[in-house]
Each structure stands twice: as structure tokens, then as C-alpha cells.
């Protein structure tokens, strides 16, 4: 029996009155199927009502109503999540943030961009790069909203040099469960003024508060970038080279690894050739800087190290025309793998970067053990791996068995390597049990008390992250 109230026709009327615009309030059968799931989760649950908000004030009023009537609320961005965090497990109210999609201010003195949460990652990139700035976090899924990125503390390709989303969130406007609007942080560079509520909300997957505005930190756009695509005879050699690159004190923006089969999937999916597909494994590196000389001074030594470690060749992409397609292919890996099978699920573990090869070796041996194909790629430079278990022709029952076994084994391995359950995709609904296994009960209990501190009634996105 749920502890939450369902949304009645009366509630529908009351919420419609709050919003004052019928077209932005979807009830019962007018709710589109897409609102019942995210990108990968096998959970399909419909909310009772969807409210397409346009302002913080609307979010505040809806939350106050939900709080008063004890109705569960699930915030949702573009629905590109992979762990079911935006699935309305308790039905109730879904707050669709995608109409709050305005870029509000570029402040060139303070190097900040103020945005609403529904702005897409690719929109931010286009807007700031045109004006000579960089928003460094660069997850593969460019059609995710910035609100979603903040909610999962998304990482992306450039974390090696620039860090993750958290490092670029200067300030947040949030709505608490009871409708209170708070402004946390701001345009200031430093802040030691009481507890860091802002960073607690970053990565909390909509369970502690709803982000309604964000002040992002920008950097000047590096004037040049160069990518190196480096084929290796084996993946072990490719990945084994990464700690040596780091030890040499080069700082690539990105160090990705990939295997031929994923490249072939991507060629087929995009209908265009990758620059090379002859080798078993590749490292893809990017360097940035203000002059080609400066960048060359970084990558010369790196190239030398790769050759010493057995690299077959060094393919240099030093113009935007050559750079762009390589990274576009890389960005399509997830979709490409998805299109090659009937269903899939993933792990998104992160391990210390000098233990990536141990995890990859382990994952390579898994298919035999579990009886299903596995594909993987990932961020070798920051230890974040994306491993996909493919369903192909397995029956429902077989698939569940394979998946349980694969997940259990991979998360156990990650723990053994001092890794964490999720590098950037979050916990949501799908990974809760693995989070619970990976952390001591005292830590889970502390997280549950924090949840209660923010949301005493537990109405915000229930059953996610650390809740049962």
C-alpha cells in the first residue's frame, strides 16, 4: 500500500487552476507514452498528471499543493536518463521542465551563464562557443537537459582535464518539497558561508529539491584543439598506456578507449566511415590550447609514449573538419550499440584510472560466463566505463537471469577495485540495490537522514537513490 495520494479529478482541477493554461496540464489518457519511461529503464509507469511548468513560481505552487495533499512528485527533463530516475514510480505528479528552456544571461565579467534547467546541453555548447567561451562538461548525450546533467552530476569526455558538472555549477535556484524557493551559491567564485546545500543537490537526481535555475561557470574557449586517434594491436596495450600518459604529466582534455566492434556498429548506425577500423583497439585523445605550438608541445611526448607501448600508428586530426566526425562517431556509440540488439542494460562504474585494464579484462571474459554479448567503451582517462549487456534473442526469463548475474559480477568487481557504482549516470531506480551493496549500511542510513532533512514527507521522487 502506497503512503501517497493519487491525483484525483479534483486535484487535476486545482493544479490546472494554478497553471492557468490547460495545454500545459496533461491528465490521465492525454499523457503521452514517453512520460512513462526514460531512455533505458525497463520500468514503464505513468504519472497521474503531467505539468509542463514555465517558471519557478509554478514549480513552487505545484510543490506546495503536492506537499499539502501528500502527492508524490517526479521531475523530468529530456528523458535521456539511463537508470529510471525520472520514472513516476508512485504515479502522482510529473513536473516536465522542458519548457523552462531559456538562456537567461551571459555575464562576461564573472564568466557565468545563467540558464533554466530545460536548456539542452547542445544549446549551451552552441551558445557559449559562438561567443568564445567553453562550458567544459561534455557528456555524449547532447540532447540531455542541463537540469538532468546537474541532477546526475554528469561527467563526459573532458573530465580528465576539466572535471565534472559539479565543478561548473556556481549557483542554483531550487524549489524544496514544501514549495520554498531557495537561492544557493551565486556568481561568487569562493563561498564558505554555511553548509554546502548546492553540492548536495547536484547529483541528487531530483530527490532533494527541484532545480529551477542554474548559474554555470564558463571558461575562455581554447583557440585550438587537436585529436589523436591511436590504433593498438590489443585493448590491453591501449589501456595500459593511459597511466603512462598521465605520469608523463601531459594533460589531454579527453582519453577515450574503444574497440573495433563498437566502431563498426557506429559506422553502420551513422552510415559513415570512421577514420580507421583496422585495429582491434583505439585510444582517442584530445588536447586543447591557444596555439598549435603549445598543443604540439603536449602531444609530441604522448605520441612517443604510445608508439613505445606498441601503437600501430598516430592519426592526427588537427582541423575542425577532421575533429568533428571522430567525436560525432564517439558520441553515437550508445545509440549504435542500442540499435544492434533487441534490448540492453548497462553498468556505469568508475574505478581508479590505473585499474581500468583489470575491469576491462574481467568484462571481456564475462560473455562466456553469462551467455550474452557485452560491448563496452569508456573514458579511460577518468576510469569511467560504460559496459552494455545485450539481450539479442533471450527470452524474458533468460534475460533477467543473465542481467542479474552480469550486474552482480560487475559491481562486485568494481568494488574490489576501489570503484564506485556510478561514474555519471546516477543510481535512480535501477541501481539502488547495487548502491546498497557497495556502501556500508551507516552511509546509506546517513543518506536517508539527509533525504529526510530536505524532504520530511518524502514526496520528491520517491524510491530513488537511497530509498527502498
Amino acid at each position: 500500500m502506497s503512503m501517497f495520494q493519487r491525483v484525483t479529478e479534483n486535484d487535476h482541477k486545482a493544479i490546472a487552476a494554478i497553471i492557468g493554461d490547460e495545454e500545459r496540464v496533461l491528465f490521465a489518457e492525454t499523457i503521452h507514452e514517453e512520460y512513462s519511461h526514460d531512455e533505458l529503464s525497463s520500468e514503464h509507469i505513468y504519472p497521474d498528471i503531467v505539468v509542463r511548468v514555465q517558471s519557478s513560481e509554478e514549480v513552487s505552487k505545484v510543490m506546495a499543493y503536492a506537499s499539502e495533499h501528500h502527492i508524490a512528485v517526479t521531475p523530468r527533463g529530456a528523458g535521456t536518463g539511463l537508470v529510471g530516475a525520472s520514472v513516476a514510480v508512485e504515479h502522482g505528479i510529473m513536473i516536465d521542465m522542458t519548457l523552462m528552456n531559456h538562456i537567461l544571461e551571459l555575464d562576461e565579467d564573472n564568466l557565468t551563464l545563467t540558464v533554466e534547467p530545460g536548456v539542452l546541453l547542445m544549446e549551451i555548447a552552441a551558445y557559449v562557443e559562438e561567443r568564445g567561451f567553453l562550458y567544459p562538461p561534455d557528456p555524449g548525450e547532447k540532447s540531455a537537459t542541463i537540469g538532468g546533467n546537474i541532477s546526475t552530476n554528469a561527467g563526459g569526455m573532458r573530465a580528465v582535464k576539466y572535471g565534472v558538472t559539479r565543478d561548473y555549477v556556481r549557483g542554483l535556484e531550487v524549489v524544496l518539497a514544501d514549495g520554498t524557493i531557495l537561492h544557493l551559491g551565486g556568481k561568487v567564485v569562493k563561498n564558505s558561508s554555511g553548509y554546502d546545500l548546492k553540492d548536495m543537490i547536484v547529483g541528487s537526481e531530483g530527490t532533494l529539491a527541484i532545480v529551477t535555475k542554474a548559474i554555470l561557470k564558463l571558461m575562455p574557449l581554447p583557440r585550438k584543439r587537436v585529436s589523436l586517434l591511436i590504433p593498438f594491436p590489443t585493448l590491453a596495450q591501449a589501456i595500459g598506456t593511459v597511466p603512462r600518459i598521465i605520469r608523463s604529466k601531459a594533460i589531454p582534455t579527453a582519453i577515450e578507449f574503444m574497440e573495433r566492434d563498437v566502431i563498426l556498429d557506429s559506422e553502420q548506425y551513422l552510415g559513415r566511415k570512421f577514420p580507421d577500423n583496422q585495429a582491434d583497439a583505439y585510444l582517442l585523445l584530445q588536447f586543447d590550447g591557444n596555439t598549435m605550438e603549445e598543443i604540439a608541445s603536449y602531444y609530441d611526448e604522448t605520441a612517443q609514449i604510445c608508439l613505445e607501448q606498441g601503437a600501430i600508428d598516430i592519426l592526427i586530426a588537427d582541423t575542425e573538419e577532421r575533429n568533428e566526425p571522430v567525436w560525432k562517431s564517439r558520441g553515437a556509440f550508445l545509440e549504435a550499440i542500442k540499435s544492434s540488439t533487441s534490448a540492453m542494460d548497462e553498468v556505469d562504474v568508475v574505478v581508479p584510472r590505473n585499474r581500468v585494464h583489470e575491469f576491462v579484462e574481467f568484462a571481456h571474459a564475462l560473455p562466456k560466463e553469462i551467455g550474452a554479448r557485452i560491448k563496452l567503451f569508456g573514458h579511460a582517462g577518468d576510469g569511467n566505463l560504460h559496459v552494455y549487456v545485450l539481450r539479442d534473442k533471450l527470452s524474458d526469463e533468460e534475460w533477467q537471469k543473465v542481467l542479474d548475474l552480469a550486474m552482480e559480477k560487475m559491481y562486485a568487481k568494481a568494488r574490489a577495485l576501489d570503484g564506485q557504482v556510478s561514474g555519471e549516470h546516477g543510481i535512480g531506480l535501477a541501481k539502488r540495490s547495487y548502491l546498497k551493496q557497495s556502501l556500508p549500511p551507516e552511509q546509506i542510513a546517513l543518506m536517508q537522514r539527509v533525504k529526510k532533512a530536505f524532504d520530511p514527507q518524502g514526496i520528491l521522487n520517491p524510491h530513488k537513490v537511497c530509498e527502498d
Copy 2:
């Protein structure tokens, strides 16, 4: 009446038995005066007992004992704090962390340094720079412990380019109020595995947990650095130039501002000349990079902008021999000002960097209004100002009145400029009322609920930050 138990002779025996080394347990009259205060606070309160711990296990056992007997606990590092955060308001147990002062591991593959909390900032700098790495946070007080820096989220000079302490804390070992030892984060670069307890503890001034180990993120040490000391006719011109430098997309490591009177204080205090003391105001910039050409490409335009804005000269320090004394003088400002008066108190506000000039103008007009001298300097590049009110010959009563008036006025001004109470020194005991004035009651209440989630009995460093 206090809700806490005082430490009895019986407790003393029990705690001594836990530690098993009499010399590390100080009781009653054996407690040195230094344990009764920090660097600036006017509060002088003795703890009942001081325990000089040597391991996380000892901290855990002492906390379990304190928790069971409801005794207040105050952790203390080097005592260089400026807001009374390490003053044992409720007497009780003081845990002195300074013997936990070992550098445990440099991991060159993962670019991390694992340290105990009692290691001093200058020890970390010396250790890593000798090995070709940089720990970017660079507060002026080099004899602070890293534990203290983590507890206040210290910022320092290089925040313009590199950010603050929080950005370099990858993992923490902490002891909770009940003695539970938790490991938060780790060597991993990305992490989206549940709520971000680690960042909540950073900056919490010993009120949520005691830090017993830290995994710090390092960077490769830039091979070269160049400082520019730039005299201006007026401080307004100097500070007004900063947003223009930022707009030009140069990224100095540091942008400090200073006035002649503080430079003269510093010359007298250190007994050596600053490179120049003829102008009313100065900007001090630093750039770093791997080659002099690369660095010159950054600062050439900056120098041009400064000259256009009326700079009198550009003094370039491009060798370590010239660099070091300038920054040493800068690092001595606080001590130099302190030595020029009988007592002082400070504000450590942070404002958006394009509003620094407004705050400085305001502070310049204050002495007339309040009847006391004021000195200031600060981080123009990140908007963090250190403003000191000097007591000189004021009576106790006059001093309290002047201080109350000065503080009230300056914090009100900071709020009006969208600033925050503390950029890097924290709230502790001394700034609680100003934090309370600057934030909505709902935010203070949320912080209090978070405190309770971490420390249900409230025994950890009571009356600090958000508590009454």
C-alpha cells in the same frame, strides 16, 4: 544551562585508557593556553580535556565515548582559524589533530596525494612541487593544516584559475559523531553514486564529522610562472581593470589587489623592501604555463589593457628569485596588519568580481563613519575581500561598539551586492549572526536539519555555523 556533560576525573581515566599514552591526554591545568582560542577570535574558552590523537581508530573511540556520555567535542588543527570555529564553547573534549601529520601516498597514476589532516599546507606544497606536481589551493596562511583548509573550504590566491579546496578533495575518511568511520569518494575522477556527503563535509567546520584522511587531487606542476606587479594611481583604477582582464579571456592564476599602506606595513613587519611602494594601489597578477612563450602570449594583452586603464608601469617578475619575495610579502599581509595595532577583527566577504570596486569604495568611506582605521586587501580576481577593522587605542566598550557597527554595515553592503558572508574563512562562532541575517530562515532551518542528520545529539562542535 548546558545540555552537555562536562568531563569528569572518571571520564579522564576512561579516555586515557582508550589512548593508552598519558602524554597525549591533557587534563585540566595541564592544558596549554593556546588550546583556548584560535588566531583572531576574542573568545577564550578552555576545553576540559585535550586528546592528541594519532589514528582514525582513536578518533572513532573518543567519539563513541563522547556520544555515549553526551560530551561536546571540538576538533582542532593548527589553530590558525579566524572565526572561532575551533574554540571549545561547551568545554568538553578537544581533539587535537596535529599529530596525524603524515603524507601517506603519492599516486602518480591517479594524480592523487593521500594525507592525514594534520599535514601543513606548506608541507604539502614542498612535497608535491619537489616531485613535479601542484596542489593548486594556495591560502596565505601556509602553516594551516589541510584538515583546517578542508573544514573551511579555503580558497587562496589561485582560485581565479584553479578553484578552491573543495575542487581538489577527491575522497575523505571521516568519523561521524557516533564513532562510525566512513570512506567517502575515493581516487575516482567521477562519482554519481548517491548523495554527495563528501562535499557537505568540506566547509562544515568540524560540525558534521571529523576528517581523518583526505585524498587530494593534484595537477602536473606548470613549468614556468611569471608575476606582474602593476602600480596604479588609484585603487579604483586598479580594481576597475580586473573585469576587463577577465573579458579579454586571459586566465591569470591569481589577481590580487593591494594598497600602499598595507605594503608599508608588510615591509616593516618582514624587514625587507617590496619591489615598489610609490603608487597608491597595485594589482599583482600571476600567470603560469609550460613555456615562457606560452605565458607571454597570455600576459602581453593583459599588460596592454592595464596600461590603457592608466597603469603607471608593468613590473615583470619572470624568475623564481623575483617571484618568491613578492608573494612572500603578499602572504604576510595579515600578520603585518595585525602587528600594527592592538587588536583587530575582519570580514571575509565575497562578491561577484565586477562588484569588488563598489565594496572597496564603501570600505574606504567607513573609517570616518565608525571612528576606527580599516585596512584591506584581497583577491580581486575572485571577488574575495579581507577587510580588517583596527582597535588601536579604543576602550573595550568603544571597540565593541565600533566593531558591531562596522560589521553590520559591511555585511549589509555585501548582501546588497549579491555577495556572501564568507569567501574562505568560514562562519565558526564569530560570524553566525551575520550568516543568519544574510540567508532566508528556511535555508538556516534546512542547514540545522542537515546538522541533525549527521549529528543527532549535536555533540560535534556545538554552537557553530548555523546553530544558535
